[in-house]
Symmetry: D2
Subunit: 126 residues, 4 copies
C-alpha cells in the first residue's frame, strides 16, 4: 500500500550535517572517504547503534571490512573519533563519539574567521 | 564579540541529507568521492549558487579543478546530475539539478524494499 | 572561551521537521499550540528523553503544567500520540511515540495529492 | 506510480530549526502561535518565496488573513522580523528576513548560559 511505503520511507529519516564540515574538511586533514565514513558513524549513532561493527559500516561503503577497520583506527589515532564507555548500562558497553571531530571543525572555522578578519584589517589599513 | 561569532556560525547553516543516500549509494554505482561531490553541489544550490564553477567546488575538496570537472561530466553522463536552463531570469542562466540523483535513490530504495519483501514471503512460506 | 561556547551551541542541535507538517496541520485538525507541543515531544525524544514529564514540557512553553497534561491526554485520545512500553530495558519504561502523527500526516498528504489530480483531470477534460 | 509519489513527497522537503528556538521562545517573549507563524515564514523563504502574502500564510494556519497580517506587523514592530529590499533584481522587490529572530535567540541563549555559570560558581563557592 502506498501509505505504508511512504511511511517506511519517512521512517528512514535524514542526517543533518553542518555546512562548515563540507567547506572545511580538507583544511582539517580529512579526505572524502574519511568524511563519508564519519557520516556513516553519525548516521548509526543517531539511530541508536552507538558501536557498529566494521562489517556493518563496510556493508554501506565501497571498502572491504579490513580497510574500514583500518580507517577507523587511523581516525581514532588522529583524534577525530573517540571511544567512550557507556556508564548508564549495567554492562560496560562502548560507543563511538564524534565530539573530537566537531571540536576540530569549530577550531578550523574560528581559525579561518580570524584569517579573514586579519586580511580585512590589512586591506582597510592600506 | 561572542554574539556575532555565534550568529556567523549559525548563518553557515546545515545540510539535510536522506539517510537512504548513505545506505544506498554503493548499490547506485557511486563511490565516496562522487557522493561528497554531490553533497557539495547540494550545498552550493541550497545557498543560491546554482551553477558553481569547478574551481569553486575543487577549493572545498581534495581534488584538482580538472579532476573535479571530469567527475561532474561523468556524473552528468551517467545520469546523476542534470544541467537546467533557468527560465525566470532575463539572461539564459544554467543551473545544476540533482533531481536525477534523488530519483535513482528512490528507485534503489524501492528495489531493496521489494527484495526484502520477497525474502520474507519465501521465509514465511517455508 | 569562544571555542567552548560555539561547541556548546553546536551540541544543542537542531530539529528537522517535514514541510508537509507545516502545510497540513490545520487539515489534520491540529492548531498551532498542539503542533508546538508535538515538536517539543519530538525534540525530547530525539535527545533520548522518551517520556518527559508534563512539567518539563510546560517549562518550555507558555502553558501551565496542568494545561500541558490535558493537551497531551487529548492528543493521545485523538490518535496523534501513543504511549509505548520500552521492551529493551529490565524495568518496564514508557515512551511517547509520534508514529500516529506522522501516519496521519502522510494520509492527509495523499488525500490532497488525490484531490489535486482529480482537479487536473477535470480541467484537462473540459 | 509509487516512484513518482515518493519523489513528490521527497521534493516537499523539510525544515531544520535550532533546538534552542524550541527551548527559549517563551523567554524571548514569543508564544506558540507566533513561533508557528515564524516557522511558516522560514519555510516559504527556504522555498524561494521571500515575501508571501498574508493570505498565503493564513491558508496554512488556523487564523484569518487579517489576524495573520496583524501578527506579522506586531512581529516586525517588536523586532523579530525585518523587511529587506532585494537588491539583485531590477525591480525593487521586498523580502522578509528572520535575522532579528535568530539574533534574539542567540542573545537569549547566551544570557541563560551566563546565568547557569553564575549559579555554578556560587554553588562551588559555598
Amino acid at each position: 500500500m502506498i501509505k505504508d511505503k511512504l511511511y517506511n520511507w519517512f521512517k528512514e529519516g535524514s542526517l543533518t550535517i553542518p555546512s562548515v564540515l563540507l567547506t572545511h574538511y580538507p583544511k582539517m586533514g580529512l579526505d572524502e572517504k574519511e568524511v563519508m565514513l564519519l557520516l556513516q558513524l553519525q548516521n548509526f549513532i543517531e539511530k541508536g547503534e552507538n558501536f557498529p561493527a566494521p562489517s556493518q559500516i563496510a556493508d554501506r561503503m565501497t571498502f572491504e571490512e579490513s580497510e574500514c577497520l583500518f580507517m577507523i583506527q587511523r581516525l581514532i589515532q588522529r583524534g577525530f573519533v573517540m571511544i567512550e564507555e557507556e556508564v548508564d548500562r549495567t554492562i560496560g558497553d562502548e560507543r563511538y563519539s564524534l565530539q573530537p571531530l566537531y571540536e576540530k571543525m569549530i577550531t578550523s572555522y574560528l581559525v579561518s574567521q580570524k584569517q579573514e578578519e586579519a586580511v580585512q584589517v590589512q586591506v582597510e589599513g592600506e
